[in-house]
Symmetry: C3
Subunit: 340 residues, 3 copies
Amino acid sequence: MRVDEIARLLKAEMQGDGALEIAGIAALETAGPEDLTFAEGEQALTRALRSRAACILIPQGAVVPGHTTLTVAHPKLALIRAAEVLVPPRRPSPGIHPTAVVETGVHLAADVSVGPQVMIEPEVTIGARTVLAAGVCLGRGVVVGEDCVLHPRVVLYAGARIGNRVLLHAGVVVGSDGFGYVFAEDKHHKFPQLGQVILGDDVEVGSNTTIDRGSLGVTMIGEGTKIDNLVQIAHNVKIGRHCVIAAQTGISGSAEIGDYVVLAGQVGVADRVRIEDRAVIGAQAGIPTGKVVRKGLTMWGTPARRLEDFKRQYAHLSNLPNLAKKVKELTASLGEKQDS
Amino acid sequence: MRVDEIARLLKAEMQGDGALEIAGIAALETAGPEDLTFAEGEQALTRALRSRAACILIPQGAVVPGHTTLTVAHPKLALIRAAEVLVPPRRPSPGIHPTAVVETGVHLAADVSVGPQVMIEPEVTIGARTVLAAGVCLGRGVVVGEDCVLHPRVVLYAGARIGNRVLLHAGVVVGSDGFGYVFAEDKHHKFPQLGQVILGDDVEVGSNTTIDRGSLGVTMIGEGTKIDNLVQIAHNVKIGRHCVIAAQTGISGSAEIGDYVVLAGQVGVADRVRIEDRAVIGAQAGIPTGKVVRKGLTMWGTPARRLEDFKRQYAHLSNLPNLAKKVKELTASLGEKQDS
Amino acid sequence: MRVDEIARLLKAEMQGDGALEIAGIAALETAGPEDLTFAEGEQALTRALRSRAACILIPQGAVVPGHTTLTVAHPKLALIRAAEVLVPPRRPSPGIHPTAVVETGVHLAADVSVGPQVMIEPEVTIGARTVLAAGVCLGRGVVVGEDCVLHPRVVLYAGARIGNRVLLHAGVVVGSDGFGYVFAEDKHHKFPQLGQVILGDDVEVGSNTTIDRGSLGVTMIGEGTKIDNLVQIAHNVKIGRHCVIAAQTGISGSAEIGDYVVLAGQVGVADRVRIEDRAVIGAQAGIPTGKVVRKGLTMWGTPARRLEDFKRQYAHLSNLPNLAKKVKELTASLGEKQDS
């Protein structure tokens, strides 16, 4: 693809040589003479001067003298758009691999790709153009939407429902039993785990993440929410739209999370917590049982506090040895005065 | 099933219409006119007045006027009993799927179900009525008891021993190598991981949890212990009976945990820790190497302290900015006095 | 194998009966009359007096009267060497299992073992004597070196490169998409995840650990680094040689970790952190975004501090209720003086 073709695609203003051929996408430092890259911010724009890239996406008002550039409103977003055309994801051809096991009463829409050793139980429905990679296992009655990609070894328990354009990475488990027991007669009796699990459109879930079904109710992940690797989402959790949940975070039973919430890595959300829209929880923070985090707040620590309180308290904690010394001196000094 | 039949099953006292047909189990709020539900506690009993459920399980002394109810000693436990009959888990039919690979010298007891793409190495023994779902992989010499369910993609390394009525959820790994090395000659030499791993009867293990074998000794999980998703249990760990271990908790090498212990989510137990019977460890707490947690104690924080100490110290931490201000004032005030 | 043969193998000095037959390796307490064991340190050497082992590896200068012993420079290392001969790991026979799916253009070197239900996409290269256990899935263009063992259900995404003598435990995922999005127009747009992932020679990775590919760059794990179960390594992370990373630790995007670094369990390393050679990070510690940890430092806590600072501050935190009381008394006492 030529630079001027990319300019047209992105509705970008071009400086330099529109006839250059672009073959791929790369980072500023590693881009070669056939690569498209991007530069945002003062530092990156300075480093861009030394880039070997064929063409650099830059924001309005920037210049990179001596380089072919495309000016766009949002360089990183433009790179995403260009990448979709330049390096489209390789999709396996449609059809059912001879080693796949597809039970009776399964409905596959047009152009579904069912990979080797896939196992599909009865009454499953798969939307058009969805890809099931090697070893994916779909339990009875599962519904998967259109244009999804389920990477190798994904397991959906019976009845799980997945929207359109959902990406599930290798080893993801959706719909396993919630962790619920009744303690009686000196042992734990398993509570029925009969509920549902629903993932909205455009959800992405990272490798080996686990999402339990509802016990009697529903576990729900809203449209556009992105979940990283090794995250745990317990039974009856409700997560809103367009949230970002980083790796190794755990969300306990019946917690409710609003829209546009950000949970950093290794966060722990206890049971029945409510986190309102656009709140941000810092890495490794812990939100105790039943707590409500108000709209837009940023919290850190265990138990979590407002970020500014956390910072203030920790600054004082660092200074605590000095404070203790001062109190000792005051006591001594007062003692002297009392003696005198 | 009719309400009066359920009453007989549960030895419950019935109020209302015994002829109603019950088809399922649901939560108080979502139950419909063919569902059984339960209500415990004042709040739930109030909400029960608006429930559309056909029949409500309630504790002794409670009433829900205008509704068909069954009075039992323990409503939640009674719901479990009723669910076993009303919505029994669907079991695949016995037999070996043609795509499964079963090596020589494997002993399968009566009515075992071996799913698609299961792999069973030589000298494995499987007890009666056990279900191996799609893609389960059992290494040489594995022993699995009766009435177990191994969900898709469970991997048991060679020699792992599993009791009766054990549930292993999708992606569980049991018997992988412990994390042990000897540092010498500027690199890490792998220590032999030749030990055993034994899971007792009625153990349940959540999705993608990992349990390592002993290095030279044994990793052991006692009868009735319940383990959530994404938990890590290292080599030579001993866990007692009827413990509850919530998601993403990690237990390091050679730690010993008694009976009826509760570990909340994301707890870290360092190596050679000993946690005595009925202790409770709060979410995200960290128990340092070699520490002993006495019988029945509740601990929180990293490094973990008794819950009451943790709470007191954290209350003071929150107040630390004020305390520092007060010390400053005292110093100033004392200075003035000294000046005067 | 006889004790005197083991003595020759280890170049050890022998005391006792060289004709004893050794069949296995065991811990000091559980070793029987055909086992080799080891004892290091005063306590272990005392317990060794009661051991039933056929032969005990001991360090220079130690004696265990009445027992057959072998004196070596490093008993634990000597045990590793002896174990390699006494209990060599059982390797499946070379060849391709009939249920494996091997696409065109795959290069398998001599004596590779491809297990049941393995899936190998086109253009994959596998080095000599490497073992792919049941259900391993290798994406297009993957390169695996010589003498590797990939345990059941390991997934390598397209293009992942693995060195020689690498061990990947069950459920490991290498090369999945990094967690990168651009927020615009009120939603998260997936950033291209087109980079590479490279694991050096002699790396070991624990069960269900996940390692993402670079977004545009490379994720790299250096030679000899050992990674435990359920660890998360994000896109573009660089880890040096001979590091040890314990279970459930998470390393965020673009973090850089030197050589011989130790990360204990459940550590969180935020994005763009740099940890220099031989630093040690204590369990559950959190290193905030962009922080540099200098060569050889030991850190603990969240946000992480030098271990000695952490300990001092926490000692003062424990004493904070007393300090607050003292300040109250001082205030009262000063008030009285002012009143008088």
